[in-house]
Every structure is written in C-alpha cells, then in structure tokens.
Symmetry: C2
Subunit: 312 residues, 2 copies
Amino acid sequence: MASHWEDFYATHLPPPDFEDNRSILKEFCERHKKIGQRIVLITSGGTTVPLEHNTVRFVDNFSAGTRGAASAEYFLEHGYTVIFMHRLKSLEPFTRHFNGQKLMDMLELDERGPNTSITVKPDSVDVLAPVLARYKHAQECGRILYINFTTISDYFWLLRAACECLATFESSALLYLAAAVSDFYVPSNEMPTHKIQSGSGVPNIQLQLVPKLLAPLVSLWVPQAFVVSFKLETDEHILIPKARSALNNYKHKLVIGNILQTRSSRVVFVTPDNNYEVVLTREQQLNGMEIEDGIVSNVIISHTEFMKNSKY
Amino acid sequence: MASHWEDFYATHLPPPDFEDNRSILKEFCERHKKIGQRIVLITSGGTTVPLEHNTVRFVDNFSAGTRGAASAEYFLEHGYTVIFMHRLKSLEPFTRHFNGQKLMDMLELDERGPNTSITVKPDSVDVLAPVLARYKHAQECGRILYINFTTISDYFWLLRAACECLATFESSALLYLAAAVSDFYVPSNEMPTHKIQSGSGVPNIQLQLVPKLLAPLVSLWVPQAFVVSFKLETDEHILIPKARSALNNYKHKLVIGNILQTRSSRVVFVTPDNNYEVVLTREQQLNGMEIEDGIVSNVIISHTEFMKNSKY
C-alpha cells in the first residue's frame, strides 16, 4: 500500500534551496497575478529515487523532457505565463533545439587579438534566429520561470509550494503535469548512508509505493484550477482504461494518454465525457511540426471552456 | 555471485548501431595508428540498468561526466588522440563549459530581414573564444572520436570493440576508465516486457552482480596497454583498501580513488608500489584550475615510464 502523502512530507526534509525557490515562486506569481494573465505550471522530466543517502545510485524514469519543454514554447506563444518545473539537465524550451556541439559548430571565430570576434555562420542564422528571437522575447518579458528538481522528494516539495501560489489564480491556473514521476521509492529511514557495496552480494532494495499527489492537489491545493495529467504506458491495451481510472479517482478534468513508442505522433485525450485522439500526420512531421502544438491548442480550448463555466 | 563476462555477452544482444560504431572505431584507430601518436580511451558518465524491456524505469549511477570530459581536454592538450566513450547526454569536452542557456544568453540578435546577423556579445568573447579555439582545433585535426552509450549492455559491447582496436597500439594505448559502471543489473531474460504496474503492488526487482570487465580487459583484450581504473566511494575508510584490492585482483597499473564529496579537489593514486595524493588547493580552485589537469599530467608521467619499460 502507498503511504499517505502527509506521511511523505513528515518523513522527508525539504531540499536545501527550498525556501529560496518558494520565495521566487511567490514573487513570480504575485507579479503576474496583477497583470491578470493565464498561468500554466508545466512539470517536465523524470524524478529520481535515491538508493543511498550519499547518493551514488538511484532509480530513474525515462524522460528527456521533450513533451514539457516543447509545450512550454507553445503556451508562451498563446500568451500564457509559464512556470517550467523540470528535472535538472532535462530539455528546456528553446535551448532544446540546439545541443552544445550543434551550437558551437554554428560559431565562427575570427581571432584578432583584442579585436577577436565570434559570429554565427550565415547559413546557420536562418535556423537559429527565429528560436533565439522567441527565447529573448520570453526572457525580456519575464513570462517564464525555471525551477528545477532532481529527486522525488524535491518534486513533492516544489509541487506543493507552486500550488499554494497558484491557488489564487482560481480557474485561470492550468496544471500540465507532464513529469514522469516515480511510482516507487526507498523510504528515507530505510536507506543506507553509504554506497551499497557489491562485495556483500546483491542488495535487497525495499521499494514502497509513492503516494499519488494528484489526490490532495485536485481536492485541496488548487480545487478551482484546470488540472491535466499524463499517462505513459508501453502496452496499448491498458492505456485508456488506466487513464479513465485516474480521472475517476482524482476527479480532475483531463488525462492525456500516450504510448512510449508512438508518443511523438499520437496521444489520446481522455475527459469525463469522451476520448479523442490528437495525431500528427507524417506530412506534418516532415514539415517540422510537433505534436505539442496540437496538444497545447486542444488543452487551451478546454481550459477556456472551463474558465467560462467556472464564472457562473 | 557475478555471472561470467562471457555469459553476459551470450545473453545480451549488441545495441542496434553496434556494427556502425565498430567500423567507426576501427577506421579511427587505423588512421591514427599510422601517425604513431599515443591514444587514450576515456570512458565517462554512468551506465543505466533498465528494469523493463520497453524501458520506462532504470537504475542509474550518479555521474555528470565532469571527470571524463575535463580529462579529455587535457589529454588533447598533451598530444594524445582521444576516444571519448561517454553516456549519451553526459558532459562532453569543450561544450561542458557552456550549457544551452548560457550560450544563448551570449548571443546578440540583429534582425534585419535577409541581412539578419547573430554575434557573440563582446564581453562574452573573452570567455568563449579560448574554448571555441580549442574545440575547433580538435575537430579540425580529427583527434577526438565521440562514441556514446546508455545501458550497461551498450557499454559492455562498445568497450570490448574499442579494446580490439586498441590492442595494436600496444603500450602506446592508455585506458582511462572513468565511467561509473553499474554493479548490479536485471538479466535480460528476467526483465518484464512492459512498464511495471504500480497497481499490482511493489515490484520485486531481482538484481544480479555485473561481471567485472577489468579482468578480461587487462589479461586478454589489451594486455600490453596502460590501464587506469577509478574507484568512487562515499566512506573514506574503505577507499584505499578497496582501490588496492582492485589492483591486486586485476593486475593493472593504477587505480585513482576518490570520495564523492571531495572528488573535485582531492584524489589518491594507488599503484602497485605506493599511494600518493593529487590535490587542488583552494587558491588553485579560485584561479579556475581543475584537478583533472593534475590528474592527467600525473597519469601521463606514469604512462611514459611504462612505455619506456615495455620496450625492453
């Protein structure tokens, strides 16, 4: 059985920089509350489950963070303010298009002592300029806040803190929970201090079920917000039943289901009323379109509808 | 008990791009063999242990890849040819100095339609130019080969293939095994196909000890090469005994021991004859020096000595 979420907080200390992050979240939300824009909290990337206190080994979830990072760009385009809560080193909006070497390869070095200059090669400008323009624009209007986590415990603490700040946005707040959160963890008091030694044989890892935060999140923390969760499976047959069961359990508005192998071209929206697919055709893919464009547009339509109904 | 290394290869298929990588390694080594330079194989970053065939969850080892990526730069500086075999997305030489946002923030966009240009801000040129110059130089002389792995099985297959190519270099080959390799794994035939379901309770993960590749590597694959392995611990008391015991077991030349918490300022060289520390003082740290500079210099001194003795 999963431990209760309150027990998890009671037995896991907040991360060292928690108070700083809480202040930053608070300040960011208060500033944007005044402007009256819609706000989305995007969680992205996988959480780790440390197996030792001085962590050498950990269990991780497969997630590069593509879904969350791409979606953040589309939400910004649609005028949303974005809190991008992501796994440290997972993909980030804008920079995701260029890894380190790709960017270095675009640069031309003209070494002339104190007059040395570095420019982007003309044939790379076409590719880089539009992304760079959108990046700079988002930075300048301060419409995106980056917050990062590594462990499941970091994630728990930061998610609750973000919800506290988002509650005042009522139905204007959208929670887009795309992070791949661990289902299992090793309780802090059962974790060895030091690196597990292989000489002493195979370790017996005692896993415990992680409490589902969606329950308190939907019912207590942001009861008026529009909450979207994601469900990733590898077995097609259980995807929709599992998505629907999550919806029934937690009473939120939308589960976006996807299959590991096809997740970049097909997802299914599961709502209390129906299911429908959002698909990226092969032609759209070849034209450089991304499925997150369609996902975000559809989510925003539902959010708009939800806000209208919340007013009465 | 650990399974035998031959059983591991017999029960784990090579990764899909294995033959491509083997050809690339072979071609690279043959080209550099003609030039007669010394060559170093650096392994870097952690390996993963998948818990499912359609992998959603895996066990990972803490390693950003700093040690290997920084060392690669210093080996290049000392004239070595470098095979940089690293965990996908771990730090790489040169690009490690600038993450995506840092690099984007250095860029200035001058939007003038078809004459749009992007330049590095003058005050960033000082920081970027020296690294960029070294990066371009290494690329142009083709003295570094990047090969990447993700799982422990990828690592096993690639390491053996690299050793096959390096054997002909005899004592001019240096193996600098800095990767954080998993000690435990889930055998392929005991792994579930699909994502483990949390509804069915806590999974029972049956781990097995990973066979130590150092044994066949030193005695069979590259018996004439200079082999350096690393030992990371969190408990100071067992570091030197464990390093010495590895040296006794595998009969290679050098173990570099380090403690998780102090690894960027202090390591211990454990050789068949003695132990000595390589330390970065606080002052050196403040001057921007890196301990890998000292580690690599000391390793090269030992390698040079070893090559001299091998000739007679």
